[in-house]
């Protein structure tokens, strides 16, 4: 049975109609939908086990702590991480990237260089600009090469002994390009730079083996991988995490506090001040369990098939330009396209009238939009519940757009 036929009924929201049509949800790259077991796991937690975690010496507190820490163990296994201390639970990818940019930023000095790429999401640009602004470091970018890849020859030139950080996306949220993370991170390490990977579009889509990626940090969000909003993961290599000072203070991140000083808590709690997203951690566990039951290889195969079909079929529509790597190249579960003579927001509005949800605009990647020479794009993205028929529905609707305005 096809994956979407197995999974579709698990997603209650797919039962609703939009504008009189069956909902065709093609915006999982922005936020996916949740299977019933995730929603139920969170409800059950609120109905049965909720209390604050860690210093609660009562039954509910102990149960909630166990559930919260179980999420960390589940993430550790999901990533193949060496130890649970490397898994910091955050509020999402943006939060994780800000955390690491803050912490590394405090170690930067004037003249140091931060290397990003031209295809980054703003959340892997702005935190580095902020770190650069107060440290005097400089932000540079690996430019786009041919066929929506990164220009690795330029990397050779850009990566120097001044480079302290290389921050890049695993999969572009616009192009779908899968970047050679392990190669770039190995080269970063060779010059003594730390590497930070935005995994927001990859962790929901591909099997991740964190040690083979060669990076020092890897950030992603639960809500793009069938889990709840408000929680994410920052994986950090233990010795690097250990070497960084926390930049956010509060309860839980300390061991002992005096009026004028404090001792930090152990990893990973040192980087988790305040009450964490507890019910969300329960939801994250359920989402990972759901994905692992399917198998991440099957998830990747299904979504890649849909993306490839969409690329081929959309490219055959007169007036449609598909952005990103050629169809035969590996790509993530996103397909961005432009329709001649139509603004991406009008494309999205007209598709919405047909019950089809796509994202449109700059996708928080304005440097990339400038490079592509467009104001924005329309983007279809896929998840386990999407079907080849939905791709066809999208393509037929796009083909009808040229006469719509």
């Amino acid at each position: 049975m096809r994956l979407d036929e197995q999974t579709r009924r698990d997603f209650p929201i797919l039962e609703r109609a939009v504008n009189g049509r069956a909902l065709v949800y093609l915006d999982s790259a922005a936020s996916s939908q949740r299977p019933r077991i995730v929603i139920e796991a969170m409800s059950r937690h609120y109905e049965r086990t909720h209390a604050n975690v860690h210093r609660s010496i009562h039954t509910l507190g102990e149960e909630a702590t166990e559930l919260y820490e179980a999420a960390r163990d589940r993430v550790q296994r999901f990533l193949g991480a060496a130890c649970r201390e490397e898994v910091v639970l955050t509020r999402g990818t943006t939060d994780g990237l800000n955390l690491v940019a803050d912490a590394i930023g405090h170690t930067l000095r004037a003249g140091d260089e931060i290397l990003i790429t031209e295809m980054e999401h703003h959340s892997n640009i702005i935190p580095w600009q902020m770190a650069a602004r107060w440290s005097g470091a400089v932000v540079r970018a690996i430019p786009l090469g041919p066929e929506a890849t990164l220009d690795l020859e330029a990397l050779e030139r850009l990566l120097t002994s001044r480079t302290r950080v290389v921050a890049l996306t695993h999969i572009s949220n616009v192009l779908g390009t899968i970047n050679p993370v392990s190669e770039i991170c190995s080269r970063a390490r060779a010059v003594g730079a730390l590497s930070v990977v935005d995994g927001a579009q990859a962790a929901p889509h591909l099997p991740i083996d964190i040690s083979s990626l060669q990076c020092d940090f890897y950030a992603f969000s639960a809500h793009k991988m069938l889990g709840p909003t408000g929680i994410g993961v920052l994986w950090g290599r233990r010795e690097v995490l250990d070497s960084l000072e926390p930049t956010r203070g509060g309860g839980e991140m300390i061991k002992e506090v005096w009026v004028e000083r404090a001792d930090w808590n152990d990893l990973p709690w040192r980087f988790e001040p305040g009450t964490p997203p507890i019910a969300e951690a329960v939801g994250l566990t359920a989402a990972i369990e759901y994905l692992e039951k399917i198998g991440m290889e099957s998830v990747a195969a299904h979504e890649s098939r849909l993306a490839r079909e969409a690329v081929n079929a959309l490219a055959a529509v007169p007036g449609v330009t598909v952005h990103g790597p050629p169809a035969e190249r590996p790509r993530g579960a996103v397909v961005s396209f432009s329709v001649a003579g139509l603004h991406p927001h009008d494309v999205a509005a007209l598709l919405d009238a047909e019950g089809i949800a796509v994202r449109a605009g700059h996708h928080c990647a304005q440097p990339l939009m400038r490079r592509l020479g467009v104001v924005g794009t329309s983007r279809a993205s896929f998840s386990v519940f999407n079907s080849p028929e939905e791709v066809q529905t999208l393509v037929s609707a796009v083909a009808g757009l040229s006469t719509a305005l």
Partner: protein, 156 residues
């Protein structure tokens, strides 16, 4: 689309979009593409009559819609307290382009101190079902107009 030079000091105050409504609920009513985009929007999107350069403009402003990156520039020729001519340029969607076109048409001949065109006037002229998520497409040209008039006022 006309490419515009980079905005100088573009700010992001393009009016308030308001919170999106709860949607149609399960099985919500059909949204007809024909009411989504009125004939006025279609015509002004295809052939905007007030789009173009205004070489002798003496009040110019430009701004972006932070939601979508749309950019609109409004150019005015002010003379003796009156808006003698108005033109716009934009990398913008159909709704924004149509709103800018209606706005430019309406303000020509009006006093620069109070051109008296408001969001409601534009919505009425466009005659379409503009949803909260697209409201900024309508208000962006208006806020750029006020920016241009404000700057010219301050210069004097």
């Amino acid at each position: 689309m006309t490419a515009l030079p980079r905005a100088v000091g573009a700010d992001s105050s393009a009016g308030s979009a308001g919170a999106p409504g709860p949607g149609g609920g399960p099985g919500g009513g059909r949204r007809d593409p024909l009411t989504l985009y009125s004939d006025v929007i279609r015509q002004r999107w295809r052939r905007p009559r007030w789009r173009g350069e205004l070489p002798d403009a003496n009040a110019v402003a430009e701004d972006v819609n932070p939601l979508c990156g749309d950019r609109v520039r409004v150019m005015l020729r002010l003379d003796d307290g009156t808006i003698r001519a108005a033109r716009f340029l934009g990398d913008s969607c159909a709704i924004c382009t149509a709103a800018a076109d209606v706005l430019a048409e309406r303000i020509e001949g009006r006093p620069s101190a109070s051109p008296a065109v408001e969001t409601l006037d534009l919505l009425e002229a466009l005659g379409a079902d503009i949803r909260p998520s697209r409201m900024r497409c309508v208000t962006l040209p208006l806020s750029v107009l006020h920016k241009a008039l404000g700057a010219s006022h301050a210069a004097r």
